[in-house]
Symmetry: C2
Subunit: 348 residues, 2 copies
């Protein structure tokens, strides 16, 4: 019997994440029958290659979703808000990589290693979490299952590709300018739509997304709220500090946790993570083995190392978590949600 | 009456910190009568400029310290271990910027804003703390004085100049190679004397100094132990994760603290830091104002911002602390200790 093939649409096909989505659909051999590539008017007409075939990118509009089975959105929150309901109206299931619907209680927020079952109660839209959230919950969920989880404090070291293709170009151009002693004007980072822009090359910028009234940035609030929703832990104590650093791809996180169980060793944590889905343990101080963003680029896994028991508290541990923010943090997690839909027979 | 002038020696005069020491002695108009510049054989013969005068760097040996009043050491732990006692024997007071004597109970470890009085019980050697420790305790001590301090969890974002002039060159050369698509071979970072070396350009490396048996690096242990000693808080709960990022100068720190007092607001913390010695508060989310390493270079102060009250605990706060690791983190703190010695009349 021939395997059923699906009509897939990628919205935001020319962006940093959209390009990785097309690549991931190909690499993972997702059963694509037709691939529709959509974008804003500005990028329409460009071409992308899928399995050796050139496909022209078209302007995204409501009618674009006629006959589409699965639509992967990654073109910004306002595009998702306008067009995701239109896609759903036409029978598509939307997997949305923006923050537009993530905290909507009618929309599941899914990381398949953590809460795959949540795709079952979707109402047309399934949200893909924030990149920095995804890699953290993939590492924390197996620890929670084994030992319980009470508290998380995370400081991030985030790559510029999380802010899109223009931010990548800005980091490269600025780095060159500084190395050559030439002038430059920051225009994209930290937040394109915010009023002030700062140097990112050879700098560290403690602002990702806009500030909220409580002094946290929206990126920090996203990490805190999304983690609670994905892990089904409204009572989890969690705080984030999100920082952009001059790395092109690969987010890193320094994470402190307090667990429920007493008497757990760092070795126990390592043993759990060694066999956890989607996780690769890289932790051997005697061999200077630990995860780094430069090593994780192009890989789908979440890498964990530097696992230490806190010297003051029996229930506390420190971890260092790294992953490719464009893959597990975005494109791969979205395609993985699509795979979960097929596996669970949810695409009509 | 003419002001007394002192014979000052700088050991490690050609290094990244040594050069800043010479500059800081000049900028702060320290009462230098004679300036003796010392180094290893490899660098001897080079020249440095102090107040418009060229001074030749000489090979450091025991006899170099005859007649020296104050010797600033920053040439690595083994040089300090060998030569600091020789300098003391000849009547000099040593201010040592290496880790050689920091945890020696006969040696005061001093950050003048925090524990200036400790210089009084010196026995010839006063230790200058680790760069990442200094900037943190300058920000935490005023909070401790006002509200008490129970717990600290810090994740660092450290600049390569903390690893010396060769590390700066490596970051620049590697950055150029990567931007031009050329090959490169890491040879200095993360730790020159360790077995493996890794890319630092466009990367984040969670190793500073060598690993200890408990899985923490020596840099992390230094931060933890030195903070307790400087703040006179052997009971403080403290844990550090130290990470090198591609910044040339300026260490940043994401710090979580728990205090003793209840009912304190983020505004209360800001008010304390606004008037704290050596601290500049840079904290206004509405103006996107927060400290960044690129802004702190060449300044002696410790910059603090992103001050938020934890959303789960009434006694917990988050801070972002940035300072020039070569100045307050090294050269300026050493010269400041020398100033304390003069102020307290301790140089015979």
């Amino acid at each position: 019997m021939e395997q059923r093939r699906f009509h897939v649409a990628v919205v935001g096909a020319t962006g940093a994440v959209g390009q990785q989505m097309i690549q991931t659909l190909e690499n993972k051999n997702f059963p694509v029958g037709t691939l529709t590539l959509l974008s804003s008017e500005r990028s329409a007409g460009k071409k992308a290659t899928f399995k050796g075939q050139e496909i022209e990118v078209q302007v995204a509009k409501p009618e674009s979703f006629e006959g589409v089975d699965i639509a992967l959105f990654s073109a910004g929150g306002s595009v998702s808000k306008a067009l995701a309901p239109e896609a759903v109206k036409r029978g598509a299931i939307v997997i949305d990589n923006t923050s537009a619907f993530r905290m909507d209680e009618n929309v599941p927020l899914v990381v398949p290693e953590v809460n795959e079952e949540d795709v079952k109660w979707h109402n047309g839209i399934i949200a893909n979490p924030n990149c920095s959230t995804i890699q953290m919950v993939v590492a924390l969920e197996p620890i929670r299952q084994a030992f319980g989880l009470k508290k998380v404090i995370v400081s991030t070291y985030q790559a510029v590709s999380g802010a899109g293709a223009q931010a990548i170009e800005e980091l490269k151009a600025q780095s060159k300018a500084i190395l050559n002693g030439e002038p430059f004007t920051p225009e994209i980072l930290p937040v394109k739509s915010d009023r002030k822009h700062y140097q990112i090359a050879f700098n560290a910028v403690p602002q990702i997304d806009k500030f909220q009234d409580n002094g946290f940035t929206f990126e920090e609030i996203k990490m805190m709220n999304e983690t609670k929703k994905i892990m089904h832990m409204p009572e989890l104590q969690i705080a984030a500090t999100c920082v952009r650093i001059p790395v092109i791809t690969g987010h890193s996180e320094s994470v402190y946790i307090e667990i429920e169980k007493e008497g757990v060793s760092a070795e126990d944590i390592k043993n759990i993570l060694k066999n956890a889905p989607g996780v690769i343990l890289q932790d051997d101080p005697t061999e200077q083995l630990y995860p780094m963003p430069a090593d994780c680029v192009g890989k789908n896994d979440v890498f964990v190392g530097r696992i230490r028991k806190d010297l003051d508290r029996d229930d506390a541990f420190h971890l260092w978590i790294v992953s490719d923010n464009l893959l597990k943090g975005a494109a791969w997690n979205s395609v993985q949600i699509a795979e979960s839909l097929l596996k669970l027979g949810l695409v009509k």
